[in-house]
């Protein structure tokens, strides 16, 4: 990460706000659109864009009807027309109503046009369980978008990365989906002032270790760090890799670490079947055939919809204990 770290603390929501503000300051082609995003509408349900339409103008920060196809379509068209729109889709479950624009258009237009028209949009979305929002407001659906060639996909685990990754996403010349774990909005951490970027495609070693590599992203990074503490007490040294970017993925970082530890755990909240963990596990197994000390462990959601009752929902969510259990299995 470039930019000077400071001790200033912000929530992830504030960090994202700051990235949007700085990007709009720097470049007049940066636009913001989505439901409720302007100030007359309260600056968004999570108040992330509060103040931005007042500062940058209501023509640049536009509240939209509840019409996700229209939102993403408008972003795509404006991007082809020379702008860098940031579209907000409130929850990732609602990608389901806009997948045609995302998958068939945003992702493919550069290719279909033979490179003539790029689509430099950013799609921001909140995702993840843990707030008792039920089956239709809680999913991590990174598998849907990472499977679509033409999209890039990032997930920040902390406020500083949320800001830096979003800056990279906005100024990337291709469509980037930034998945924002909902519960992280209220999590604080140090965030450097001013402009900086966290490059897309570079993972971060969140904790160094020598026995087992834990590969994870988003909200599970903090759980992985807690799990690493738990198992440290048992004499297991776990390295935690925060992917930050799912597409492109920092294969070098993964392979470098597992090359040393020879043991790997992959943790994510999304359901196991077809989760991104499968792809990462393949990468490792294909590369280290016969060299691993134990089978690659996937710690992931069970293959069920997300239940409402708190007791069931907390069983669904991958937490520090689940990851610690995974590490112990890998370390055996």
């Amino acid at each position: 990460m470039s930019g000077d770290p400071t001790n200033r603390k912000l929530t992830t929501a504030q960090a994202i706000h700051e990235a949007l503000d700085l990007a709009m300051d720097r470049d007049p082609t940066v636009l913001l659109l989505g439901e409720d995003v302007d100030d007359p509408s309260g600056g968004g349900v999570f108040h992330i864009s509060e103040g931005l339409s007042t500062k940058h103008g209501e023509h640049r920060v536009r509240s939209t009807p509840i019409a996700e196809q229209a939102i993403v379509g408008a972003a795509i068209g404006a991007a082809i027309g020379g702008f860098r729109p940031v579209a907000e889709l409130m929850f990732m479950d609602f990608f389901a109503v806009a997948m045609d624009q995302i998958s068939n258009h945003a992702a493919k237009l550069r290719y279909m046009s033979g490179g003539q028209t790029g689509v430099p949009i950013t799609i921001r979305t909140a995702a993840g369980a843990g707030m008792q929002f039920g089956a239709q407001h809680s999913e991590m659906l990174e598998s849907w978008v990472t499977h679509i060639p033409g999209l890039k996909v990032v997930v920040a685990s902390n406020p500083a990365d949320a800001k830096g990754l979003l800056m990279s996403a906005i100024f990337d010349d291709d469509p980037v989906v930034t998945i924002e774990p909902t519960l992280n909005y209220w999590v604080s951490g140090p965030v450097p002032e001013g402009e900086y970027t966290v490059p897309i495609g570079k993972a971060n070693v969140a904790r160094a270790g020598s026995d087992v590599t834990v590969i994870t992203y988003g909200r599970e990074v903090s759980f992985a760090l807690q799990a690493a503490e738990q198992v440290a007490a048992e004499g297991i040294s776990a390295e935690v890799i925060d992917l930050r970017s799912l597409v492109p993925m920092d294969e070098e970082a993964i392979l470098g670490s597992v090359g040393r530890t020879k043991r790997a755990v992959i943790a994510h909240q999304a359901v196991r079947r077809g989760g991104l963990g499968a792809e990462i596990s393949c990468l490792i197994n294909e590369h280290f055939f016969g060299e691993l000390q134990s089978p690659v462990v996937r710690v992931a959601g069970p293959n069920v919809p997300i239940p409402y009752a708190a007791e069931l929902e907390s069983m669904f969510v991958v937490d520090a204990n689940d990851i610690a259990e995974g590490i112990r299995r890998a370390a055996k």
Binding site: S63, E68, G134, Y308, M315, F316
Partner: protein, 324 residues
């Protein structure tokens, strides 16, 4: 004038909705319960009117802001509250939650959290009745904001082409989340969108239960007798903003005050008294009975256990248990 028992039924429903809403908001404020909650307060007369018109075997599809619709369609209060609280005794064993209440015995078929998505499903329920040759009617409730999403359009056109016995009820509370109707919707009234489908469309004062009752009766009669779908737009207001905890800063205080001063439940009560339809004692009796039922239901819910861990893995597929 509707029959006296209709007026009473509507009063009972309005009262039930309001007491339930108050209790639930109190529970949340006290911190005893944590949940997303979309108060229907202000919109109670719309559901009460339809509740007085519909039969138990009619179908209802509604949404996250659905408590008023659940109650009016007859979902039993104990199971309803237990579901809101995520208890195993809930309509859905606590797995659905307030945004996903289902209770087929009372005709409450689907509650959805995705804006506009209930409309296409309502068509299917109406199609089923049409095929079976029953005279069941399907209603689907949604907001003004939902009238801008694609599913609304697809559903209304299909219903019109197939002449389905379905009623699209737009509860126009002037806001979609924090965005004012006018800033999101290029139509003075949602009802005028019925022109696009050559479907009967009507705007009614949703805060007036009697007016809404007549509009509901006409639409239901049309659907029941094979006359096809209707778009009913009921004008109303949300007293408590979008979601429990909403700062409501985007709502002009005078606008909200005016709406609350004209509380439709209070106005209706007064109208019943002033018109000599019921005595104070009669209404108080209804109110006491309602309060007792709500207390009982609330206590039932609070006393109920959460679903057991095995429930995480059932109901994904029929009769199967998914491996952990």
């Amino acid at each position: 004038m509707p029959e006296r028992d209709v007026l009473e039924r509507m009063f009972e429903l309005v009262t039930t909705i309001n007491v339930a809403d108050e209790r639930f908001r109190t529970l949340l404020t006290s911190g005893r319960v944590r949940s997303t909650y979309y108060s229907p307060k202000g919109q109670e007369c719309i559901s009460a009117a339809f509740g007085a018109v519909l039969r138990q075997d009619d179908y209802c599809v509604t949404m996250y802001r659905g408590l008023h619709d659940h109650i009016s369609k007859g979902v039993p209060l104990r199971e309803l509250f237990a579901e809101f609280l995520g208890r195993v005794t809930g309509t859905c064993k606590g797995k659905g939650g307030p945004m996903h209440v289902t209770h087929p015995d009372s005709g409450l078929m689907v509650t959805t959290g995705v804006v506009g998505s209930g409309l296409p499903i309502a068509n299917g329920l109406a199609w089923a009745s049409q095929l079976k040759g029953t005279d069941q009617v399907t209603i689907v409730n949604f907001g003004d904001g939902a009238s801008n999403i694609g599913a609304f359009h697809e559903a209304l056109n299909l219903a019109a082409v197939w002449e389905l016995p379905v009623i699209f009820i737009c509860q126009n509370n002037r806001y979609g989340e924090h965005t004012r109707y006018e800033w999101a919707t290029s139509a003075t009234q949602v009802a005028q969108r019925s022109v696009a489908y050559e479907m009967p469309g009507v705007t009614v004062d949703g805060n007036d239960p009697v007016a809404t009752y007549w509009a509901a009766s006409e639409a239901v009669e049309r659907a029941r007798s094979g006359g096809g779908p209707t778009l009913v737009e009921a004008m109303t207001y949300r007293f408590w903003g979008h979601i429990f905890g909403d700062n409501m800063r985007y709502m002009p205080p005078e606008e909200r005050k005016a709406a609350m001063d004209a509380d439709p439940a209070v106005v209706y009560r007064k109208w019943l008294l002033d018109g000599g339809h019921f005595s104070e004692a009669e209404l108080a009796e209804v109110e006491a009975a309602v309060a007792a039922r709500i207390d009982d239901a609330m206590q039932f819910a609070l006393d109920s256990p959460p679903p057991g861990p095995e429930e995480l893995y059932t109901d994904v597929y029929k009769g199967e248990v998914v491996p952990a």
